[in-house]
């Protein structure tokens, strides 16, 4: 691997794919998680079971299913997304979404329901009291986003299958590490791994700082 010419595009693509996947997962998953955490309805336990099963979904299985859907003969073949960053983002959204929903749901559900009743009894509307519940769960909600980011940044199986690890187009940090390891370039693979960890650390430091700032 020519370090100078290829390193930065790979790093930026990793951040772009993971960042967009986490953003999309959060936009869809946080409202869903909050809704699940606040509401009681018939069939909720089944829905929670599905979300938690999604958290255990092996990335290669997601990659394989998406590959079959997006391949030329698949139902979504006309999109021509296979071996593009769009397919990698879609795979990561599917992998991150259950984490965002599940963790944010648990965070909101952990706030005592009595608090909502007490806030209503001092004049909050239902919506205002629900928003207060969400604010009380803010550290858990940030944890959901941080977990999704970690999952996305470290994922390799699905992005390899649907991205194809094409040099200059769909190669990201994790697939590059696997490739360099296969070639026996262990020091380069280790170096890439250290960079990946440093990026994850830097982003998590920002999230943790925000979590602490969210506390009074």
């Amino acid at each position: 691997m020519e370090m100078n010419s290829q390193f930065w595009p790979i790093l930026f693509l990793s951040l772009r794919v993971s960042g967009l996947a986490v953003a999309i997962s959060s936009i869809i998953g946080l409202p869903l998680g909050v809704w699940l955490g606040l509401r009681r309805f018939r069939g909720k336990s089944i829905l929670i079971g599905l979300v938690q099963t999604g958290m255990a979904m092996p990335p290669v299985v997601v990659g394989l299913l998406l590959y079959l859907l997006l391949s030329r003969s698949g139902p979504l073949g006309s999109w021509e997304w296979l071996f593009t960053p769009a397919a990698m983002i879609l795979a990561q959204v599917l992998l991150c979404l259950p984490f965002v929903v599940g963790i944010s749901m648990a965070a909101v559900a952990a706030v005592p329901r009595e608090l909502q009743w007490q806030l209503r009894s001092i004049g909050a509307s239902e919506r205002q009291s629900q928003w207060a519940m969400v604010c009380e769960a803010r550290t858990g909600i940030l944890l959901a986003v941080a977990t999704a980011f970690g999952r996305s940044l470290s994922e390799v199986g699905a992005v390899w299958l649907v991205g194809g690890n094409i040099e200059g187009q769909t190669r990201v940090m994790t697939t590059a590490i696997v490739l360099e390891t296969g070639k026996g370039h262990f020091s380069l693979a280790l170096l890439l791994g250290a960079v990946l960890l440093s990026v994850a650390l830097a982003i998590n430091i920002v999230i943790v700082r925000y979590q602490w700032r969210a506390l009074p």
């Binding site: 005592p112 009595e114 608090l115 009743w117 007490q118 806030l119 209503r120 009894s121 001092i122 004049g123 909050a124 509307s125 205002q128 207060a132 604010c135 009380e136 506390l215 009074p216």
Partner: protein, 242 residues
């Protein structure tokens, strides 16, 4: 002259569990009065307060300020005139000041600072204003729970044993704050308490509840000195009644 009614309950029935149903044949709470609810644990005092808040669906007739509860409940403007102080107030994980201001903020009231500072001073809690409310002692939390209710100048204040965990000085402070506000705004107070001496001190009328029903309701002196029901007589003498 007939005084306006804050709450009217007529033929109200509220089934809480297989073992407990609240049944109130008739109860009128007059605007500006302090009605104390007394009775043993599990008599239904808290349940009655919860119904009086207007937030719960009720079987039977229930009105607040002359407005009957419809099938979709009371409008928010009516509900906001009735505020509850709970026995164990749950506070937001924010500062003491933010907790006290909460009721004003949800009502979109500007210029909250003067009223909040006044209450903080009256409760000697000004030095704690910016402290995380969850780090307060149980008694201090109780005072914040009272302050967040009083700050919005409610028309009806529902008190669910607000002094249960307070020292005598704090009990006196709570009673004086409530009476001071009542003199200022003619606020109606429905106060559930286990302390008969407290009921004697603060109530204009006292009601005894047993097993989800009102046994007797009378002006304070009459309730304690000339009770009509033998269960009331036993209760005020400190005997066990069920």
């Amino acid at each position: 002259m007939t005084r306006a009614l804050a709450c009217e309950l007529d033929g109200v029935c509220h089934r809480l569990s297989d073992a407990f149903t609240l049944k109130i044949d008739s109860l009128d709470v007059i605007e500006g009065e302090t009605l104390c609810l007394v009775g043993p644990t599990g008599a239904g005092k808290s349940t009655l307060l919860r119904l009086c808040s207007g937030q719960e669906p009720v079987e039977g007739q229930f009105s607040l300020f002359g407005q009957a509860r419809g099938s979709s409940g009371f409008p928010l403007e009516v509900l906001r005139q009735v505020v509850t102080v709970h026995q164990r107030p749950m506070l937001l994980s924010r500062s003491v000041r933010a907790n006290i201001e909460y009721g004003l903020r949800v009502r979109r009231v500007g210029q909250t600072q003067v009223r909040v500072e006044e209450l903080l001073d009256l409760m000697s809690m000004a030095p704690l204003a910016d402290q995380d409310a969850r780090t307060l002692s149980g008694g201090q939390m109780q005072l914040v729970g009272l302050a967040r209710a009083l700050v919005v100048n409610p028309r009806v204040l529902l008190l669910d044993e607000p002094t249960a965990h307070l020292d005598p000085a704090s009990v006196a402070l709570v009673e004086s704050l409530i009476q001071r506000q009542q003199q200022r705004t003619a606020m109606t107070v429905i106060w559930a308490t286990h302390h008969l001496f407290q009921a004697r001190r603060v109530a204009s009328r006292v009601a005894l509840m047993l097993s989800g029903q009102l046994v007797e309701i009378a002006p304070t002196a009459e309730f304690f000195d000339h009770p009509k029901d033998e269960r009331t007589s036993a209760f005020v003498q400190g005997k066990m009644v069920y």
